[in-house]
């Protein structure tokens, strides 16, 4: 039987990302359903990030969303770092 391990989470702030406009090709599994869903977001990165586990799985916080899916009720989103594209200004 594979042993369950704990994965430490660390929070941080990346000054180089703070205030940058970005797009996120997001999505995830719908709770209680076997299906995933793709979501597109665009907004401003706050610079806040969370690293989950080792090697780190990094997530950036995006606010001031000016593009979000119809079904998205919230005003912020955490974006997986590899699915974030900075918008050239």
């Amino acid at each position: 039987m594979v042993e369950r391990r704990k994965h430490p989470t660390t929070r941080g702030f990346d000054d180089s990302m703070a205030g940058k406009r970005a797009e996120c090709d997001g999505g995830g599994q719908l709770p209680g359903m076997k299906f995933g869903v793709r979501h597109e977001f665009a907004g401003v990165l706050t610079g806040d990030y969370i690293d989950h586990g080792d090697p780190p799985w990094r997530w950036f916080l995006m606010r001031d969303l000016y593009l979000k899916p119809d079904g998205w009720a919230q005003d912020e989103v955490w974006c997986e770092s590899q699915m974030v594209w900075l918008v050239e200004e």
Partner: protein
């Protein structure tokens, strides 16, 4: 003798006979397809690490050293957390009343058991990470990331001799996943079942092939027949990712009522509806989707509110096996699912039809 058009570099890479990938939530289908010379991937997003490990052991006992894959829906974005009670309290009276109206009109009974939904959303990667730990520790031949980027775990997978496939809906996602080291890219189009990207299969496969270089591209979305397989190879793909036809295979654990329903419907009997989850999702039409599409219906709610509204109907339909109420996710190729066949036969029929198609085009015997 002409070169076998189905013997693609992907087949060589994986040591398989046919470039057909079956995506399924049923491990019996995985074993049957792998033993028939194809490749199969078990969707495990809903399962605990312990269940995943048991499934992997079961599949290995049936297929030996032949390769197979495990798919997880890695998150790519996450909302803040809310409790189910908080969400239920926010559902407007108008939509709640409409859901009750549907239940009354179609005599929808109460579900036999309530769904165990305690927490909605939230940035909780611990579950995905625990699932990935099992996949790495058991050295599954292939890990498939069904949505988010697998970049963070690719080095660990490669160290263990595993391969990593990434499923994408856009060329830029493919470019980034290739840069991070994925071994195969699956390009999925709008024709697919469930929640899809917004680019059609022909377009997205072509776009991804154009940026993939030597990395094999697998086509996904609405692919059901041998002719589809031949077309995908002509686009530059090295194989096809298929889903709907396995739902109706003999080995599938889908309810027999739903299987028979799938053999009778066409693409027109599917709908891209927000009524189930709050997001557009391709499913077979049912009273729930049709009522919400009517002119008297209120606006569907955002997710997760709409999903909580629909969950009672969905569970009741399945618990009580009501054919008139049941639905499932199905791709636009569902018209070509016309009979309940063993998975092995589905593989062979696709291969035969693809070879006939190439022969008809080239005039040469493949």
């Amino acid at each position: 003798m002409a070169k076998d058009p189905l013997r693609t570099p992907f087949c060589e890479m994986m040591g398989i006979e046919f470039p057909i990938l079956a995506f399924t939530h049923c491990k019996d289908v995985v074993a049957a397809v792998v033993n028939a010379g194809g490749f199969a991937v078990l969707g495990e997003a809903m399962h605990t690490p312990e269940e995943i490990e048991a499934d992997i052991n079961w599949i290995r006992s049936r297929v030996g050293d032949k390769p197979f894959g495990i798919d997880l829906v890695l998150p790519a974005s996450a909302p803040g957390a809310e409790s189910v009670e908080d969400i239920l309290a926010k559902i407007p009276a108008e939509q709640k009343a409409f859901a009750d109206h549907i239940k009354k009109k179609y005599d929808v009974p109460d579900p036999k058991s309530a769904e165990a939904l305690h927490q909605w959303g939230g940035l909780n990667q611990e579950i995905a990470r625990a699932q990935i730990d099992v996949i790495l520790d058991t050295k599954v031949p292939v890990f498939v990331s069904g949505l988010g980027s697998p970049a963070f775990m690719i080095p660990a997978a490669h160290e263990r001799g595993m391969k990593v496939f990434g499923l994408v809906g856009k060329a830029r996602q493919a470019e980034r996943e290739i840069a991070s080291g994925v071994d195969v890219v699956i390009a999925q189009g709008y024709d697919a079942a469930g929640h899809t990207g917004n680019i059609g299969t022909f377009s997205v496969v072509g776009e991804v092939c154009a940026v993939a270089g030597d990395i094999p591209v697998i086509a996904a979305g609405g692919i059901t027949t041998g002719k589809h397989l031949a077309a995908a190879l002509c686009l530059g793909a090295q194989g096809v990712w298929t889903g709907t036809q396995w739902l109706a295979s003999r080995e599938s654990d889908v309810d027999m009522i739903m299987k028979e329903k799938l053999t009778k419907i066409t693409a027109d009997d599917t709908t891209y509806s927000k009524s189930v989850s709050g997001f557009p999702m391709r499913v077979t039409k049912c009273p729930w989707t049709e009522e919400w599409a009517s002119k008297d219906a209120p606006k569907t709610l955002p997710s997760p509110y709409q999903m909580l509204l629909s969950s009672s109907y969905t569970q009741a339909a399945n618990d009580h096996r009501r054919e008139d109420l049941m639905y499932d996710a199905a791709g636009q190729g569902v018209r070509f699912v016309t009979e309940l066949k063993p998975a092995r036969q589905i593989v062979f029929d696709m291969v035969e039809e693809a070879l006939e198609t190439f022969e008809a085009i080239t005039g040469a015997e493949a």
